[in-house]
Every structure is written in structure tokens, then in C-alpha cells.
């Protein structure tokens, strides 16, 4: 059971950051996973009054506030146009509409959860995150930060550029966590492939062997899928074995590539 002694709506990022330095305090995102924990919180810090719930389209990027809901990502025309619908595909299987109206981008990313559909997709969008103290950094660098880092995720920056994106996941049942999640993007002939729910946090791969340098064909997609499945490390849990995940990964990567090819 979650116990909270004090609740504070931060009036500034500085106030939130300062409060967050104390180990017994916690920043509230959507509060969905936090609520499942059996812990006592001294002060719950709510960012809901800081205007971080907006998606702003700028000339060269989308700036997405940390308190933007997953439902807002799912429904945003600009982000879905940029990603050819991959944004909606990555979040629409997460529990239900009511859940996604609460779950926030910041909460989903900051936890760097192994099961995260969101982290998997954003890693192939060449996105950057802005942390209040650490500043702006590539999302892949952010994913490597020690979990003990006590900072404040302010916003996520997704560059607007011509790219082709596909996101696919395999689930044992609708609305469950993914067994494997996979995102692939192509920008100017450069491919990025993220594999999540391994069940560890998503990791990113490039086409090191140049398997796709001749373009996407059934054969090259299959070869790339197998190569990614070999390079990624998988584990077993109640949802699937490592061996099963490896098999599914190869298929999802191939399917992502073929969808990118077919547009």
C-alpha cells in the first residue's frame, strides 16, 4: 500500500527538483505504477501545475512535456503523421483509454521500465530528453543513466525530419505487457532498431553489417531480423522464455522493415 504524508503541487521546476533530492520524496507522474508499490512517501511532488502537459510543434521539432498523457500521444495528428501511425500503435495496447489518460510520458520514460512500449519507440526517433539538472541529452544516453539519478524530466524533443517508422509488439493477450516490443526507423538510409521487453529495458541497434545497404527486400529484412535477434540479449519470465523472445524478435524486425518498405 502506498502511504503519502504530504502532497505538494510544485510551483516551479526548481521547487520540484529541490524537493525531489530527498530520497523519501517522490515525483508523481500518472501514479499508476507508483500506486502499486508498498512504500511510504514523505512528500509526493505533483508537477500538474507546471504546464508540462502540452505538445508544441515547432519548426524543427515536437516538444512534448513530461506530463503529456499517453492518450494525447496516441491522438496527436502531427506525431502520428511524423511516425506514420507508429506513435499510436506503440501506446494503444496499454491497458485502456482511462489508464492512458492518466499515464504520462515522463513517468513512462523516467522509470526506464523493461516492459516500456514508449521507451522502445522514442529510442528510434532520435529523440532527446531535457532533464532539469542534467540538461538536454540523447534519449539513449538518458536510458543509461544510473537509476539512482534524482533529476526531473521536463520534456522530450522529437526532431521533425523525413523518416519512416514502424512499431510492432507481441502480446500474450490484449492490454497485457508486451512479450517483445520492436521499433525500426529509417532516415536517409540509416536504420535504427530498438528491441524492448526483452524483458529488460529497450536497447538500440544499427545496421553494423550493412545488411540493408542495398535496400529492403524480403531476404535482407529476414537477415537483419535474425542478426538483431542474435545481437540482443533476452531473458525469461512468466510471459515467455528467452528462446521464444529471440524467435519473435526476428519476426517483428522483419515485419517492421517490410511495413516500412511498403509504406
Amino acid at each position: 500500500m502506498l502511504k503519502i504524508a504530504n502532497y505538494v503541487r510544485a510551483k516551479s521546476l526548481e521547487e520540484a527538483y529541490t524537493l525531489a533530492q530527498k530520497r523519501t520524496n517522490v515525483i508523481l507522474g500518472g501514479m499508476l505504477w507508483l500506486k502499486m508499490q508498498n512504500r511510504s512517501v514523505q512528500t509526493a511532488i505533483d508537477l500538474c501545475d507546471l504546464g508540462l502537459d502540452k505538445i508544441e510543434e515547432q519548426d524543427d521539432c515536437f516538444s512534448i512535456g513530461a506530463m503529456v498523457s499517453l492518450r494525447a500521444l496516441e491522438m496527436h495528428p502531427g506525431l502520428n503523421a511524423l511516425t506514420q501511425g507508429a506513435m499510436a500503435e506503440a501506446v494503444k495496447h496499454i491497458v485502456g483509454v482511462q489508464f492512458r489518460n492518466l499515464a504520462t510520458l515522463g513517468g513512462s520514460l523516467y522509470g526506464r521500465f523493461g516492459f516500456s512500449d514508449v521507451l522502445t519507440l522514442f529510442q528510434v526517433l532520435d529523440a532527446e530528453v531535457e532533464l532539469y539538472h542534467h540538461g538536454i541529452m540523447k534519449i539513449n544516453d538518458f536510458a543509461q543513466l544510473p537509476r539512482t539519478t534524482r533529476d526531473l524530466l521536463v520534456r522530450v524533443i522529437v526532431p521533425k525530419r523525413s523518416m519512416r517508422v514502424c512499431y510492432l509488439s507481441q502480446r500474450n493477450t490484449a492490454t497485457d505487457f508486451p512479450v517483445v516490443a520492436c521499433a525500426v526507423s529509417e532516415t536517409d538510409g540509416k536504420y535504427l532498431c530498438a528491441v524492448g521487453a526483452r524483458p529488460g529495458a529497450a536497447v538500440v541497434f544499427t545496421d553494423e553489417q550493412g545488411l540493408l545497404c542495398g535496400g529492403i527486400t524480403q531476404e535482407s529484412a529476414e537477415a537483419f531480423g535474425k542478426e538483431i535477434a542474435n545481437r540482443a540479449s533476452f531473458g525469461s519470465n512468466t510471459r515467455a522464455s528467452a528462446a521464444y523472445r529471440k524467435q519473435v524478435c526476428a519476426v517483428l524486425v522483419r515485419r517492421c522493415l517490410m511495413q516500412i518498405k511498403e509504406g
Binding site: L2, K3, I4, A5, N6, Y7, R9, L28, G30, M31, L32, K35, M36, A44, D46, C48, K92, V95, G96, V97, Q98, F99, N101, L102, A174, T175
Partner: protein, 155 residues
């Protein structure tokens, strides 16, 4: 701590603990249609509308509702009455425990998308679990309601 909320159209000031959940707050104030189901944010039984948006009241602090409007089925009887008979005609309620959450989310769906396809209905209501019916009855009920509305409008 003190919060100000509008509950089913009625402005109120109330004292809550920092960790009081919205489900406990609304039930304490007589809104017993809001059911406690899984408490793991999965079943949709505790759905309420917060500023018109469906959320899981088991996962929202009452303190976060400060300054917002909350609606439960008690405050939406008229809107629900229009289609709930179509659900009942299909025998889709059975034990009925999931029904208030189901109705609340259906109201949200039809406000957002007045003419949904079957796939859109299924997708929107995916977060509402029913352990009796298998969902087909609810889907038929909503479809019959939408067909009835179209016929009434056209004819």
C-alpha cells in the same frame, strides 16, 4: 488538506488526507456506483470522468482532483438512460458489477466519437473488464443503440 471539487455539478469543499484516493473520496460522498475492482488500474470498474475525460479513480489522488470537475454515474443518469436499456436487452449485464464503469466509458466514447465502428468500440472499451459476458452482449447492445439512434434521426 482541503480540496475544492465539483462533484456531479455540485461545488464542494472537503478535507482529505494526502493519500486519499479519488475512489474513496467519491464513495465517501455517496457515489457508490464507483466500484472497487482490481485496484491495479486494469479493470475499469472505478471509471469516473475528470473534466469530462475518463480516468481510473483508483489511481488518482483526491488531492490531484482539487480544482477539477468529477462526474460519476450518479450525475449522468439521463445520458446513461438513453442506451443502458439496449445493454440490458442483450442480457449483457449479468452480475452487473462492471456495468457502471462500462457505462461511464461508453458515455466518454460516444461523446468523443458519436458514430464509432465496432473496432473503435472494442478499442475504446478494452480497459473495461467483464468476467461474465464475454463482451459480445455489450457490443451488440451499443450497436443496437447506435442503429436505433440513426433510424430515429433519419426517420
Amino acid at each position: 488538506m482541503e480540496i475544492k471539487v465539483t462533484l456531479n455539478g455540485k461545488k464542494m469543499v472537503a478535507s482529505v488526507e494526502p493519500d486519499t484516493l479519488l475512489i474513496d473520496f467519491v464513495r465517501h460522498h455517496g457515489c457508490l456506483s464507483v466500484k472497487r475492482g482490481c485496484e491495479t488500474a486494469n479493470c475499469g470498474l472505478c471509471t469516473v470522468l475528470m473534466d469530462g475525460v475518463p480516468v481510473l479513480s483508483c489511481s488518482v489522488l483526491a488531492a490531484r482532483a482539487n480544482g477539477h470537475s468529477i462526474q460519476t454515474l450518479e450525475g449522468l443518469q439521463e445520458e446513461a438512460n438513453e442506451f443502458i436499456g439496449f445493454i440490458a436487452d442483450q442480457g449483457a449485464e449479468q452480475c452487473g458489477f462492471c456495468n457502471p464503469g462500462y457505462v461511464m466509458n461508453t458515455i466518454a466514447l460516444l461523446r468523443e466519437n458519436p458514430d464509432p465502428t465496432d473496432d473503435e468500440i472494442k478499442a475504446y472499451l478494452a480497459g473495461n473488464l467483464c468476467r461474465c459476458s464475454g463482451y459480445e452482449g455489450q457490443l451488440r447492445g451499443i450497436r443496437n443503440y447506435l442503429n436505433w439512434k440513426k433510424e430515429a434521426h433519419n426517420g
